[in-house]
């Protein structure tokens, strides 16, 4: 008897899934789709982005919404899996009928969702992914506000001699992001006449990097570039200290959350440099100081962890961009929103957001030029580097 009820229950769940369509109303909210890794290995980052997106939504709605309509976020979890990212995109586009999406965090998740964008003609604002191919594939529905690794490396170029980098080693996570960073930064170094020493990778889930660090120790380099998520950076800093690897450490990618590093790595973080795209410690120094400070304050008011700010701002900027495009388009229709995205010219928490053409002619994607900053951990606090 119980068995029958279980089968019945499952059937009910599926029926619920088929769902009744929502009737369209003129005052219906503007829905914006959000695809992020909310479970799985990188759940922390995905959740920070979500928190930032929610702040943007609430601010917009407090000011009256977009074209008189409230903004509603439809949030889907891509479970850190590209297949799920594609399914989430399909669901958002087809069932929720969103005019635009923000996502999908990791480059392979974004790449997996991209065919759906072309299939249905819906634009997506990419807020974190760094792989160059995303904007070079000729997908005219992609608009990226995060910097590809090449752009980030160019942002470092003016500081190479000031930092005194002569021979650098690389320790990167074995994903498209890590590999892309190694190539991009390596190229910039070589352009400036410096050399690249040892290049080591580690698995995303690895916790023990002592083998790699031992090799790096023996390389004779003066700088170590580290590209990975904040948890692994913490472990690397601690293990580097244990193994007495004493050299300048520069983290790239913007997700290094120096505050968290100080908290968890303690003295091991001292002296390290970090390339970030948002400086929540000195919001007034950001291009739009007022907005940045307001964001930091709101984040704190909601009780979100301070460490998350270095990633969470992306969620805000992505939603702000889409909302502005809907406003310019005058309606929440995907193609109109896409065309309007080219006209967007606003100030986000990171700085100005304006898209330039990127990729093969006729099918360009949009790429904005985000601001890039470098900070240092000194005396247990985050500070601007002294040479600046």
């Amino acid at each position: 008897m119980l068995k029958r009820w279980l089968v019945f229950g499952l059937a009910v769940v599926l029926v619920l899934g088929a769902g009744a369509p929502v009737p369209a109303q003129s005052q219906a909210p503007v829905k914006i789709g959000v695809i992020q890794p909310l479970s799985g290995a990188v759940a922390a980052s995905g959740n920070y982005i979500r928190m930032g997106a929610e702040i943007a939504r609430d601010w917009i709605n407090a000011k009256g919404g977009v074209n008189g309509r409230k903004v509603e976020l439809v949030i889907e979890d891509n479970k850190s899996d590209p297949k799920e990212a594609a399914s989430a995109a399909e669901k958002l586009i087809v069932r929720d009928k969103v005019p635009a999406i923000m996502g999908a965090w990791g480059s392979s998740m974004t790449l997996a969702a991209m065919p759906k964008l072309e299939e249905y003609g819906v634009p997506m604002v990419v807020e974190t992914s760094s792989a160059a191919t995303i904007t070079k594939r000729g997908n005219p529905w992609i608009f990226r506000i995060s910097p590809p690794s090449e752009m980030e490396a160019l942002g470092l170029e003016p500081y190479v001699s000031k930092l005194g980098v002569k021979k650098a080693d690389f320790l990167a996570v074995n994903t498209d992001w890590g590999r892309g960073a190694v190539t991009a930064f390596g190229d910039v170094l070589k352009k400036k006449g410096e050399s690249v020493g040892v290049v080591e990778y580690m698995d995303q889930a690895a916790t023990d990097m002592s083998a790699q660090l031992t090799k790096i120790k023996g390389s004779g380099g003066d700088t170590l570039f580290v590209t990975t998520a904040v948890e692994q950076i913490t472990l690397i800093l601690k293990q580097a200290q244990e193994q007495r690897v004493t050299r300048k450490i520069i983290t790239t990618g913007g997700s290094s959350s120096p505050t968290q590093l100080i908290k968890q790595a303690g003295a091991a973080a001292e002296g390290s440099y970090h390339i970030v795209f948002f400086m929540p410690w000195f919001p007034e120094a950001m291009p739009d100081g007022k907005l940045a400070k307001a964001f930091v304050d709101e984040w704190a008011k909601r009780g979100h962890p301070f460490e998350g700010l270095t990633e969470g701002f992306r969620g805000h900027d992505g939603i702000a961009t889409i909302a502005e495009a809907v406003r310019l388009a005058g309606k929440d229709e995907p193609k109109a929103v896409r065309d309007a995205l080219w006209k967007v010219n606003i100030s986000g928490v990171n700085g100005p957001i304006k898209f330039e053409k990127d990729g093969p002619a006729g099918k360009e994607s949009g790429q904005s030029k985000p601001s890039i900053f470098i900070v240092q951990v000194r005396d247990g606090k985050v500070a601007l580097p002294t040479f600046k």
Partner: protein, 314 residues
């Protein structure tokens, strides 16, 4: 114990429903779910050959799936051949890998075989991530073309649905013929009592290897179908979660039956998507885990065997 065959009228009804689905399913999202469900059905049927019929649990099946996906993707991208050749190569290479595993199984049974298959999948996974020249590593292979047949392209969902439906039907028929034949009976003898089977002259190793090859080749084809549908493969196809999902589909659907894996595949493809609708993202995976536990508790034999027993009981 012969495989229970559903009644003819039921089969006809199902066929009609399946063939006309793209026309009455107005929402392309559900067509997407059916396509993914179909691909997993082929996978589940392949795993069922090993698990349900020979009694060997392969937890590395994602390896065959992934090998097939990459083989087909690379054939169309790098070798610039048609998707059909890609699918054929997928079956071939995956089958070859299956042969290797089958030979390994010569010495091992039960838990040890399980662990070898896990390890095999683990090694292949790491190779796909690290061997940049071949697989493009973590960056993956985007832009895989859809299959074409003369002037028709299978790009549209509707067309792809029929392709996958054909694959599922073909897989089902292959399995049914295999199970009903002498080979199938040998599988069952192997599963029930290996020592006894050997003593009556059944060449156990030969049949195990055969089962492994066919099973792997089918999984490889499923991988190829996946690659040409999602148009993007990355090392995540080797994730353990894919294997876990397959196992769930087979065991919950009913291993050792032919309809079970198909039912399991459809159910467990639809379930996570249904959970997207019904629960907010925080609770989805937790609910999924709990449903799984409940399912095993209440339907330990799997859905299809339980249903047919209910049907038979007065």
């Amino acid at each position: 114990m012969r495989a229970r065959l559903p009644s003819t009228s039921l089969l006809v009804a199902l066929a009609v429903v399946a063939l006309t689905a793209p026309f009455w399913l107005t929402n392309p999202y559900w067509l997407h779910v059916l396509i993914m469900g179909g691909i997993f059905a082929v996978l589940a049927l392949s795993l069922n050959l090993l698990l349900g019929y020979t009694g060997q649990l392969s937890l590395g099946h994602a390896a065959f799936f992934g090998i097939g996906a990459y083989a087909s993707a690379l054939t169309t991208l790098k070798l610039e051949r048609s998707a059909w050749e890609g699918l054929a190569l997928a079956a071939l290479l995956a089958g070859l890998a299956g042969w290797a595993i089958g030979r390994l199984a010569l010495k091992l049974r039960g838990a040890y075989f399980v662990l070898v298959t896990i390890s095999f999948a683990g090694v292949i996974s790491l190779v796909s991530v690290n061997w940049m020249e071949l697989t493009n590593g973590p960056l993956g292979l985007p832009g895989i073309p859809a299959p074409e047949l003369g002037p028709w392209s299978f790009r549209t969902k509707r067309a792809y649905y029929y392709l996958v439906l054909a694959a599922v039907a073909l897989s089902y028929l292959v399995c049914r013929r295999l199970v009903g034949s002498r080979i199938g009976r040998a599988f069952l003898a192997l599963r029930e009592n290996e020592a006894l089977a050997e003593s009556v002259g059944i060449d156990v190793t030969r049949y195990l290897v055969l089962a492994a090859v066919i099973s792997a080749a089918m999984a490889g084809v499923a991988g190829g179908l996946y690659a040409h549908y999602t148009r993007f493969v990355s090392p995540e196809v080797f994730l353990f979660t894919y294997t876990v999902t397959m196992v769930i589909m087979v065991v919950a659907g009913g291993k050792g039956t032919l309809a079970g894996p198909i039912v399991g595949a459809l159910l467990f493809t639809a379930l996570p998507e249904a959970l997207r609708e019904v629960t907010s993202w925080q609770w989805q995976m937790l609910t999924y885990g709990l449903i799984l536990v409940l399912l095993v508790f209440f339907l330990p034999r799997g859905i299809v065997p339980t249903l047919s027993r209910l049907r038979k009981s007065p």
